[in-house]
């Protein structure tokens, strides 16, 4: 066994996550779960999938349970009810789904679970397309992006799912990125202490679907945040808190890192820049304000 192997094994022996998995090189999925798991104690279970079905899930060292891609937050509601019926109330239930599961096929399910204020942390593992089936557009695919079902680029912008969920009056909503691990872990720690339906949305890099060199995963993802295309914020009891207020880098810098945006025309890029600027202004004005009752 080489020194590198030994270090690898030592490292993962201490994690709630096995080393090695079947995701593509550079995938943000394993990164995300390894970081998120740091925040949780041993009394945690995970329901659902993401990304790419079970490519990472299988490596989690906690009990996990899933039914199928189209089953979002639903089984977790059943698990919680069963625990309550048996007087078990010290187990944290994390429920996970991809962007397709969250924003499309399971949106009604998530909405209902949020309305019931189910005591779970619902996570959206957003790789911005249906990757498991080979890169088809989802409701969370960004404007202008190529996928196999949007060969000329996606016509509509990304659905604003975190705000849609916040409009359900749930106690906690947060956007996170694997490029900002401290922020990510902190938010999970905050979420863990809150009761009720908590929603955490992570955008993860997907070199295979986004078309870029896997070695650049973090760089690319960081640009997504730094251009304000994926702003990091929390909405606690309906009050917005921006976690990152730096100057915005031009969206073009981000778009140029990935082949999926190659189909975008200059006027589309211009429009996206304008919208992103407007959005940034809007968020800065709303910072610290109550968005919903």
């Amino acid at each position: 066994m080489s020194e590198l192997d030994r270090r690898f094994d030592d490292y993962y022996a201490k994690r709630k996550f096995y080393g090695g998995n079947s995701c593509c090189p550079g995938c943000g999925g394993p990164l995300f779960w390894r970081m998120a798991m740091e925040a949780f104690g041993p009394r945690t279970i995970v329901y659902g999938i993401g990304p790419c079905a079970g490519c990472t899930m299988r490596s989690i060292k906690l009990p996990s349970f899933n039914i199928h891609f189209s089953f979002v937050a639903d089984g977790a509601s059943g698990i919680l009810a069963a625990f309550r019926a048996q007087g078990i109330n010290d187990i944290t239930v994390i429920s996970s789904a991809g962007d397709g599961g969250t924003a499309d096929i399971g949106l009604g399910k998530i909405s209902a679970a949020a309305e019931r204020n189910e005591n779970m942390i619902q996570v959206c593992i957003d790789n911005e397309a249906y990757m498991n089936t080979g890169i088809q557009k989802s409701g969370l695919t960004p404007y202008g992006s190529w996928t196999t079902t949007t060969p000329l680029g996606k016509e509509a912008p990304k659905k604003d799912i975190p705000l849609i969920l916040a409009a359900h009056h749930i106690p906690y909503v947060a956007t996170v990125s694997v490029a900002y691990p401290q922020d990510l872990k902190k938010k999970f720690e905050v979420a863990k202490e809150i009761k009720g339906f908590r929603y955490i949305h992570v955008v993860i890099p997907c070199p295979t679907g986004w078309r870029f060199d896997p070695a650049k995963s973090i760089e690319v993802t960081k640009l997504g945040v730094d251009t304000w295309l994926w702003p990091l914020y929390e909405i606690k009891d309906s009050v917005l808190h921006l976690n990152m207020k730096k100057e915005a880098k031009p969206v073009k810098e981000y778009l140029e890192t990935q082949q999926r945006f190659r189909v975008m025309k200059p006027d589309q890029i211009e429009w996206l820049q304008k919208e992103t600027d407007r959005r940034r202004e809007e968020l800065l004005t709303l910072d610290g304000k109550k968005l919903f009752y």
């Binding site: 279970i45 349970f65 639903d74 089984g75 059943g78």
Partner: protein, 397 residues
């Protein structure tokens, strides 16, 4: 004390779930099931029933939540009908393969676009390939008893299959008939608390049965569990009779069949009418008996093979259609396959009645009995299925 009351099928079902101490009830309303879940919500609100009611946004989620709850150690009850069952199709395939003993009432109702709110059996029969056990009930008492027995069958560790307790909307769900409500302590003695030997989602003691060897292996195991269930259904029925004094003759009831040349075979509420008609016909010297098929899944093949030689013709009354099929309704096709290899086998006559929940009238039953006798005389079946409803049979009675 055993309480005796007039009760509609839906209330009887709610009592069945309460007496069985169902712990989690995820459900979504649909006519004619709605009253059932409203009763349960009311029982919980009054503190008479200790259960978690999950008010889901649709039937897909109802069954998904049922799956989660069942795997996490709770006894689960749910119910639906018609469009709700069809909407639930995707998750309906999961509990058999996952071996989760969920109990669901299918309050039968026909399916759109042609059906109305009234019953036929296509919604439940559509699920025949999933692996769910399917039991069909005739009246309120049978609904209540079947739910309690259903858990006992489903939770048997040699079975671990979900059970559908099926009963006709309106004719059973909303029609009051006499019901003896057993005492809770007797039900508790009959039905011990739920514990699944293969599952735990509790960290530290967690286990989830590894899926063994792919689809063929899994489906084979579900098939084997269905086979084993035949014996268990009969045993549980006998044990129930011993404890509560009521029996349903297991999977098939032979009613007034002694010295019958032919029999009609029914499922569900129409059986009640058929009993009366058969009694009258017998009095008038017609040699017709009645088979009530209680258990459609597992299909009681061996039992049919044993009783088949007694009758010249079995007239299958199919309250369902399988359009474009090899011939006739779903029950008749099952029966034909069950008897195919016998040397001494009856002819199978087949009738479609009560589609979309039209009344199955005494006149129609008499007509079907006469037809079945005619076929015996003729020695052959001339049309694959007789669409009785489309014939003018004169005055209803």
């Amino acid at each position: 004390m055993v309480q005796v009351r007039m009760m509609e099928g839906n209330e009887a079902a709610a009592y069945g779930a309460m007496l069985s101490r169902a712990q989690v009830v995820p459900a979504y309303p649909i006519t004619p099931q709605t009253e059932l879940i409203s009763f349960i919500a009311q029982f919980i609100a009054e503190g008479r029933m200790k259960a978690e009611y999950i008010k889901v946004e649709g039937e897909h989620t109802a069954m998904a939540a049922a799956i989660g709850a069942s795997a996490a150690g709770a006894r689960v009850f749910t119910a639906s009908s018609s469009q709700g069952i069809v909407f639930m199709e995707e998750p309906l395939w999961m509990p058999p393969g996952m071996r989760l003993p969920i109990n669901m009432c299918i309050v039968n109702r026909s399916i759109a676009p042609t059906g109305g709110l009234r019953p036929d059996h296509n919604d439940s029969l559509l699920q025949r390939d999933t692996g769910w056990i399917q039991l069909y009930c005739e009246n309120s008492q049978e609904v209540m008893d079947t739910i309690i027995m259903g858990y006992k069958i489903a939770e048997n560790k040699n079975i671990y299959l979900p059970v559908a307790t099926c009963y006709d909307g309106y004719f059973v769900s909303a029609t009051a008939s006499k019901v003896e409500v057993p005492e809770q302590k007797d039900v508790d003695a009959f039905l011990p608390p739920y514990k699944h030997d293969w599952y735990s989602l509790i960290p530290g003691e967690s286990k989830e049965r590894p899926s063994r060897g792919g689809s063929a292996r899994n489906r084979y195991e579900v098939q084997q569990a269905n086979e084993r269930a035949k014996k268990i259904i009969e045993e549980v029925d006998k044990e129930y009779a011993k404890t509560f004094g009521r029996t349903y003759d297991g999977m098939i009831e032979e009613y007034n069949c002694d010295s019958s040349d032919v029999v009609l075979m029914t499922m569900g509420s129409m059986t009640g009418t058929a009993r009366d008609v058969v009694d009258d016909l017998k009095k008038n010297g017609k040699s017709v008996g009645l088979l009530k098929l209680r258990c459609f899944r597992p299909f009681p093949t061996e039992e049919f093979q044993q009783l088949a030689h007694k009758y010249h013709v079995i007239g299958v009354v199919d309250r369902n259609t399988s359009t474009g099929s090899a011939g006739g309704g779903i029950v008749s096709m099952e029966l034909a396959r069950a008897l195919y290899h016998l040397d001494d086998k009856p002819l199978i006559a087949n009738f479609h009645v009560g589609l979309g929940g039209t009344d199955v009238t005494p006149r129609q039953i008499e007509y079907m009995a006469d037809k079945t006798l005619e076929i015996m005389k003729l020695g052959r079946v001339s049309e694959p299925v007789d669409w009785v409803e489309l014939k003018d049979l004169g005055p209803v009675m």
